[in-house]
Symmetry: C5
Amino acid sequence: MATNKKLNFPKRKKKKSRQQNKMGKAPGTISYMGDKERGDSLIYSTTYNADGFETKEFKDLEVFIKEERAEKISWINIVGISDEPFIEKLGKHFNLNPLVLEDIVNTEQRPKIDEYDDYIFAVFRMLYITEEDEIVGEHVAIVLHENTVLVFQEVKEDVFDGLRGRITGKLGRIRSRGADYLFFALLDAIVDNYFLAVENLNNRIEILEEEVYNNPEPIVAKNIQQLKKEVLKIRRWIFPVKELISRLIDTDNPLITKDTKLFLRDVHDHTVEINESLQIYREMSMSLMEMYMSNMSNKMNEVMKVLTIMASIFIPLTFIAGIYGMNFDHMPELHYEYGYQVVWVVMIVLFIGMMIYFKKKKWL
Amino acid sequence: MATNKKLNFPKRKKKKSRQQNKMGKAPGTISYMGDKERGDSLIYSTTYNADGFETKEFKDLEVFIKEERAEKISWINIVGISDEPFIEKLGKHFNLNPLVLEDIVNTEQRPKIDEYDDYIFAVFRMLYITEEDEIVGEHVAIVLHENTVLVFQEVKEDVFDGLRGRITGKLGRIRSRGADYLFFALLDAIVDNYFLAVENLNNRIEILEEEVYNNPEPIVAKNIQQLKKEVLKIRRWIFPVKELISRLIDTDNPLITKDTKLFLRDVHDHTVEINESLQIYREMSMSLMEMYMSNMSNKMNEVMKVLTIMASIFIPLTFIAGIYGMNFDHMPELHYEYGYQVVWVVMIVLFIGMMIYFKKKKWL
Amino acid sequence: MATNKKLNFPKRKKKKSRQQNKMGKAPGTISYMGDKERGDSLIYSTTYNADGFETKEFKDLEVFIKEERAEKISWINIVGISDEPFIEKLGKHFNLNPLVLEDIVNTEQRPKIDEYDDYIFAVFRMLYITEEDEIVGEHVAIVLHENTVLVFQEVKEDVFDGLRGRITGKLGRIRSRGADYLFFALLDAIVDNYFLAVENLNNRIEILEEEVYNNPEPIVAKNIQQLKKEVLKIRRWIFPVKELISRLIDTDNPLITKDTKLFLRDVHDHTVEINESLQIYREMSMSLMEMYMSNMSNKMNEVMKVLTIMASIFIPLTFIAGIYGMNFDHMPELHYEYGYQVVWVVMIVLFIGMMIYFKKKKWL
Amino acid sequence: MATNKKLNFPKRKKKKSRQQNKMGKAPGTISYMGDKERGDSLIYSTTYNADGFETKEFKDLEVFIKEERAEKISWINIVGISDEPFIEKLGKHFNLNPLVLEDIVNTEQRPKIDEYDDYIFAVFRMLYITEEDEIVGEHVAIVLHENTVLVFQEVKEDVFDGLRGRITGKLGRIRSRGADYLFFALLDAIVDNYFLAVENLNNRIEILEEEVYNNPEPIVAKNIQQLKKEVLKIRRWIFPVKELISRLIDTDNPLITKDTKLFLRDVHDHTVEINESLQIYREMSMSLMEMYMSNMSNKMNEVMKVLTIMASIFIPLTFIAGIYGMNFDHMPELHYEYGYQVVWVVMIVLFIGMMIYFKKKKWL
Amino acid sequence: MATNKKLNFPKRKKKKSRQQNKMGKAPGTISYMGDKERGDSLIYSTTYNADGFETKEFKDLEVFIKEERAEKISWINIVGISDEPFIEKLGKHFNLNPLVLEDIVNTEQRPKIDEYDDYIFAVFRMLYITEEDEIVGEHVAIVLHENTVLVFQEVKEDVFDGLRGRITGKLGRIRSRGADYLFFALLDAIVDNYFLAVENLNNRIEILEEEVYNNPEPIVAKNIQQLKKEVLKIRRWIFPVKELISRLIDTDNPLITKDTKLFLRDVHDHTVEINESLQIYREMSMSLMEMYMSNMSNKMNEVMKVLTIMASIFIPLTFIAGIYGMNFDHMPELHYEYGYQVVWVVMIVLFIGMMIYFKKKKWL
């Protein structure tokens, strides 16, 4: 059996996995885990208060650090996290714990919210739907200081465009509120996009449902399994968020005001709803598979019925024909004047009898 | 495989989903999420106390607001929630939080009960059975103030007719009690109708059960799956209510009197019972599917038996006939005087032997 | 598909269900929910203390109310609960909350124990096995006052005969103890009978197990499903009792003495055990269905083997016979002196070869 | 259908079950529930301290009671519990609650540990493997007094021989410690034997696994189901023990010293481990059944392939032979000189073509 | 049936299992449970502080004990735990509880962390991937004293090489921190390697997935079941760790500094993530089996279609040929000039009709 097993589990080309690269390093070591090409990081800074706002772009960290940000609320958006020394320097400037920096560049990090002495650190997955209708999950890390919110993301694409519009357009309350409201608004934007992911899954389930009923090909089974896997994957990204926000609502950390907690409660409701949907989709994809199996059985039944009807009708008739094809010297029926006709009559009667029998069994 | 996948998930006509419309908007933005045609809202106001009651209908919000409602209990029933400015104005009049208004018009809102400083806000699904025996779930939002209960619903149809009769007819205790009792009575009416939904599901399970035993067509499997989905959907509307009421019973909010809590305990018992039923229906629909599969196997077995019996009997007989249909010059049997008769005897013996064999195997 | 659906869910004769009758009525409305014919209620009163006991039967409520019951313990047994005015009057006499009266006549009421200011109200299902070996569940409501225990039941049949014998025969401690011990003893009798129900289920599982192994007919599958449903139904009656008794043990209600709690702990142990059994039966009925399916597959395999063996052996032989039944002018074999014999030899060799092949495959 | 049902559930010979015998009796009634033949009880008493030990055997309870046991630790082993008056008298001597005595003779009692004012009462199942490699569970009840441990068992066979050896041989700490250590040691011996039961189950799963792969006969399916049932049964005996010991560790009962609790923690770890194993075995037996079903499908596939290949090859060939067996006056082919040979060639080509086709489909 | 059962469960060669050897021994008895050959133990001692480090190897316990270790942090690595007297002597030197020593040599010990008065004792499984891509789990026991960490392992191979490098190379913080940081670092190294195990499982699932789709042989089903078992086994080693670390974070034991707890929180996050992965793999392996079954059904369908098409086409044609092979004296068709040709035309029409029919059914 050992040989067989090796056939089934060929040794993979021993490209060192990212996980393996990390082995044996000290905790707090900053090492980028993503699969994007390494490149420079860019800093987009948006500072605002009720009176106005200012947007700047920095390529050089030193320049950024010298900049004064005073009493305004700052949203510092770092795009590109593969440049580890850059992250480390920035981290020192904002006084971040090495463990935090490690998690910022660990693109496989599970969603988490950790409270430190003077900041709150959060990691989420932001989900968005691509042109090809696929759900993509991007790692995003958020640090909330008293007046500053740092957002780390791998690529420029994100789910915060609406939020940017609200700041620049002075829509809603955002400009007149603190950094914690901005933190909430980011979280809200991320969770709102979870609804789109859920909607996307729902569409796919509906399409698969139709396929299962009308056209149960093996490819449909494969797609159902793929869907199941995707639901599992997305659930893993979304599920912890519910608990995390719930704990954030209960915290007595002064960084989060009571007002903002009211809004967080709303986000929490959304995460509950999304998790319920995912749970239902899981059950529905199981039902789909069941349905697929039952339709397969059905088709088999149909095939077998055709075979059985054909064989049951024609094998006995062929037997009769065989009888009178025998070459015995003494076969009186062969010499009857209407022998041949009588045989035909017998055969037709048999045929009709069979048809009635199968009709009664509802096989026809 | 990629092409196949695209075949299975065709891009849907990119009608923007309601969810997408909401993306990027600030929380507390009032935007109607339902699928009813937009139209004017109507206000039905019922004020009453132990001495009497008065019913009025308003089309104009301004007129309504000017109206005095004094010391009596008021049940303000708003029908039609698609007119967002109307809702906003009304909300201001009653001093409601923007997040509350957002949830009032969000027809997809999950059941919730939120306590605010001077009012309690609740969202439920009211279920009723249509003429076509289908279960319909309508979004209903209730706000309990000290003397006023606001009820927001999308259409005029609701489950409160019995309650209205009790107020106008002065049946039971309702006229002599406070607004919190009215709130309870509304909730009670909603939960009572859940029983009808559960009864409806029960009927359908019973019908499907008979069908599965007597007539296991593929359409039955489809109906079972449909039922499963409906149970999941209804469960989602009903399940949270249990927990919500339980929390309401434990609250120390002065809006809910101790007396009313006793009644709420009764409603809570009902929700527990309904949830148990739904749980059982879920298991039963799974059993139904299992039964369906076993009946399919059964039918297949039967088909195969017919085929096997026919083939096993007539193929050997045909072989014998074939033997004596051969044209060898020297086949002594052909010239025996009773050769033909002997062959018939052999065949009949074989036939009977086979029949006995199958009889013993209980295939006949 | 719509038409199909209607075929499957025909509108039921719109007999108003009991649930529908209750819709819209105020909570606390006393309306009998059972399916027994309405009739008069009878009161059986047993009063006792350590010194003696007295049993009386009343048909007239007024007479009963006038009766003095003094310092003794009274067990008031009301048989027949369909006479609503009777129940209401009795309720007033014993000072019972309208919600309690509603639950007393609600024969669909889920098991519950509610503590009121000066009494404890409990609803259970008592189970007993009929002559036909069927499990019947009867609604029973119990009210514990300081010296009085009220027991409401639909029919005269109950599970308390042993208990009555212990009072009249002065067996055990019962006569020298308070009303709470009587309450416990009633509960104990009810739970003891649950064991009989569980035993009955166990017997049926064992019988079905044998049937599945020896005689897997479709009727067996149906019976397994029936059993599953019954386990679910009974579980629903029994499951809540565990939690209810546990709460009763923890209560600080003075109506329940510490001594009686020790006995209640024993009853609690029994309910735990019964629930465990039901859980196991559920798993076992699932296993039974699995086993049934596997036996069906098995039988199918057997059928297919017979078909395959018969066809595989005789179709090639028939082919050979067919060859020498052809009428070509030039077929040298036909004229060999031993041609016919040679063909027979070939056929027999083929037959034996096939048999050996199938033997080796263990199909024979 | 009703008649069918009766066929399936024949009324069992109405031998009164033990459970039925107990119905209606007062709680605290001592009635033996086991299936061993009733006989006399024997008392084995072992008294010891660090200096020495003494073993005695008593047949007469009176003699035993008169005996002095002084300051030493006593292990009183009662073998045979079917003699109810004996148990009652002994119970009175040791001041045991009637409910305790009831549980001592109730051989169906679920594992429990109850703390009374001056003793701790425990019931367990001790498991051991018989010569036939079957797992047997025996009821054992243990009472811990300050200096005395009572052990009640049905038969002489038990799992305490190693422990006895440690006392008589003065191995380990046991002789220098209190009664609570003896209590722990008994418990430890019982739980240690659970490991043997688990090992036994493991062996059987391994054997069944091999059988499923190599020889998937129906008997294997039956054995898997049997195994499942046994795992359920044993789980029921072992599962509660974990919780019970955990509660014993948390108790502040002075009968259990802090030192002994450290040892109990060890036993608790063992029960956790055993329960985990049982959980895994349950999942594995489910997998086994799944595997069995898949192997059955496999075999069916194989059978069907043989049939399909044989039929697909020889039916067309037979058809060709049939063509030239027709007796038309004008069939030119019949008179060709090499007609017969050509037909053979055609047939052989067809045959080879078919073989290649099936080879390509990997059916051969 | 009894005989059958014995066939299936043959008595195993009664080699006493290690578990049996342990039966009846006193708790705290040190008896090696592993399956490695017994041999001498080696001690590798690494002492270090911020200034430097020293590595020594001891074969003789006495020599080791005499050695002074002063103020430095010591990492004592014991390789080989089968020499029980050695372990006992060492244990006495470090003042370890006999129960701890028992667990150190019990290679089957479940992961645990126990706090004693002046040390913390932990047992884990360290997982690593062998050259053959198999996951191996080795028992490792760790004792944390104030300045010393004892590590007991069965073989020299371990997962701590990276950590050793960090001490000798003075990388990271390790040299300047206390023994509790070393303890954490060991734990971190163990948990990091769990990721490799998880990655290995993931690879295997992916390979099996491809196999299931492309090549659903029985060996694949077997491999899926093997995978399931391995996931269960590994889950059992990893699952408890999450809870253990969580409890360690909450402890107020002075041996663990607040700083180290921050790092432990990180390790805890990792264990949560790993457990989630294992949970997902379990669901995925179940899906794989389902997919395998559906592919099997599929293949069966295909086989049956071929059979049905061949039989349905050629059996009726053979029947027609049989008709005109009969030897009746009076069969007018036989003497028609184009009778033979007409029959051919009829046959070809029938053949084409059949083909169209099957095409329409999508069987071709």
